[in-house]
């Protein structure tokens, strides 16, 4: 079937089997490999993207369901090659990643949080990231990054 949607503010149209998951469509059909598939069982959150501005797990979403909708992936965050999204900068500055596998999902989930709740508490950040798993180290620097990223987003950096 033909699936047409807006991906990172550009119109795309893809032919795919109706059983294709959004994560697979992005990675396999569109070569957008920034969205990662970790557990493939909607537990780990590496595949989180925005659907109409809200964070969702793309490994548990049919590509067919996003027909006519707006999708944003980690590739759509930075304004240019030289200008990262403030949340990305905060992750870099606060050592919010080690291997980086979970980072695309962490970023997409965190930005959704800050869009809805510009001044989250540490507790709110931890609750919101319940469905995003990091296996490298711990969540200390991730939470620190999100709080710093939230402050930077508020300041419009």
């Amino acid at each position: 079937m033909k699936i047409s949607f807006t991906l990172n503010e550009k119109a795309v149209s893809v032919d795919a089997d109706p059983a294709t998951l959004l994560a697979d469509l992005l990675r396999e059909n569109l070569n957008m490999t920034g969205t990662h598939v970790g557990c493939d069982t909607s537990q780990c959150g590496a595949c989180v993207v925005h659907l109409n501005g809200e964070s969702v797990k793309s490994c548990t979403l049919l590509a067919a369901s996003v027909d006519g909708q707006e999708v944003k992936t980690v590739e759509g965050l930075a304004k240019s090659k030289d200008e990262l999204h403030p949340m990305q900068t905060a992750f870099r500055d606060n050592h919010g990643l080690q291997c980086g596998f979970c980072t695309p999902g962490m970023l997409m989930a965190s930005i959704d949080l800050v869009n809805k709740n510009p001044e989250p508490t540490e507790g709110e950040v931890r609750d919101w990231l319940e469905g995003n798993i990091c296996r490298c180290t711990g969540y200390q620097n991730i939470v620190k990054s999100v709080l710093a990223g939230a402050a930077a987003m508020r300041d419009g950096n």
């Binding site: 079937m1 089997d17 109706p18 059983a19 998951l21 493939d40 069982t41 909607s42 537990q43 959150g45 989180v48 659907l51 809200e54 964070s55 969702v56 797990k57 548990t60 979403l61 049919l62 067919a64 369901s65 027909d67 989930a109 959704d112 949080l113 609750d127 919101w128 319940e130 469905g131």
Partner: protein, 267 residues
């Protein structure tokens, strides 16, 4: 997952017509159905996505009842001012289903139609004495949930709304599995006038009412009233996550938490 014919009807009539076909299934939020299809536990010829059918989502006060459309997502119930004003215990329950990304997709209609023995909503429906409105009839919650992953829904029948009587106070206590966030034991209590109802999820093959807990709370709606309660354990599950004795105790502890929450939310 095995492939299927994907249909996205835009009217309820079209949805029902497609569903009357051979081997057709309903897709709501997909938070259980899609993982089950990926594991090839479930397959179908036709998948009917209800997301474009108008009128299936939304929250409204109708007299002394709160009506929640079947396609209303957990995140919307959790954030709804109307739910927080009328049944804050229900908003609090919705706020702790799965994780935030699951709550952005999962729906009340999908959750109750699946009737996972550890799902949260069934406890709220049974304790609040809700009614399930379907495409053909209205079913009281206690008659709707018939067994493990089983409901009273007939083939081709879909849930359209859930109608909750507004109680004086209500609360939910849940001990979640740290991995899945499903309830190892969850208890919803609701007090309306002199009548207290308590329903338990996660601890048995299907949601059930707990008469021992209800009786104790009818005397005194306080956490202390549950201090010396022991449950009849016949219906309580025993598995790798929690054995029967542990779960039976957990049900009472969660019932106490539910009462504490109900009292706190009622101010």
């Amino acid at each position: 997952m095995r492939s299927f014919d994907y249909q996205k009807p835009t009217t309820i009539e079209d949805a029902l017509s497609v569903l009357s076909g051979e081997d057709a299934m309903v897709l709501a939020g997909g938070m259980t159905l899609l993982p089950s299809m990926k594991q090839r536990l479930i397959s179908c010829e036709t998948l009917v996505d209800l997301s474009a059918v108008p009128g299936l989502s939304g929250i409204a006060r109708e007299g002394d009842r709160l009506a929640i459309g079947a396609m209303t997502r957990h995140a919307d119930v959790a954030a709804s001012d109307l739910v927080k004003e009328t049944i804050p215990g229900l908003a609090a329950l919705a706020a702790h289903i799965g994780d935030q990304q699951v709550r952005h997709r999962g729906t009340i209609g999908g959750s109750i139609s699946n009737n996972d023995p550890a799902a949260d909503y069934p406890a709220a429906l049974v304790a609040l004495g809700a009614e399930v409105e379907t495409s053909t009839r209205i079913i009281p919650a206690e008659a709707f949930f018939t067994g493990m992953f089983e409901t009273a829904l007939e083939p081709g029948e879909i849930v359209t709304r859930v109608l909750f009587p507004v109680p004086d106070m209500a609360g939910y206590g849940k001990f979640a599995s740290p991995a899945s966030r499903y309830a190892l034991a969850g208890v919803f209590v609701a007090k309306t006038g002199d009548v207290v109802r308590a329903a338990v999820t996660g601890a048995g093959p299907c949601v059930f009412r707990a008469p021992d807990i209800e009786e104790a709370l009818n005397g005194s709606f306080t956490p202390e009233a549950l201090e010396r309660i022991t449950l009849d354990g016949t219906e309580i599950l025993s598995d790798m996550h929690a054995d029967r004795d542990y779960r039976m105790n957990l049900v009472v502890v969660m019932a106490r938490k539910a009462v504490e929450t109900a009292l706190k939310l009622a101010g």
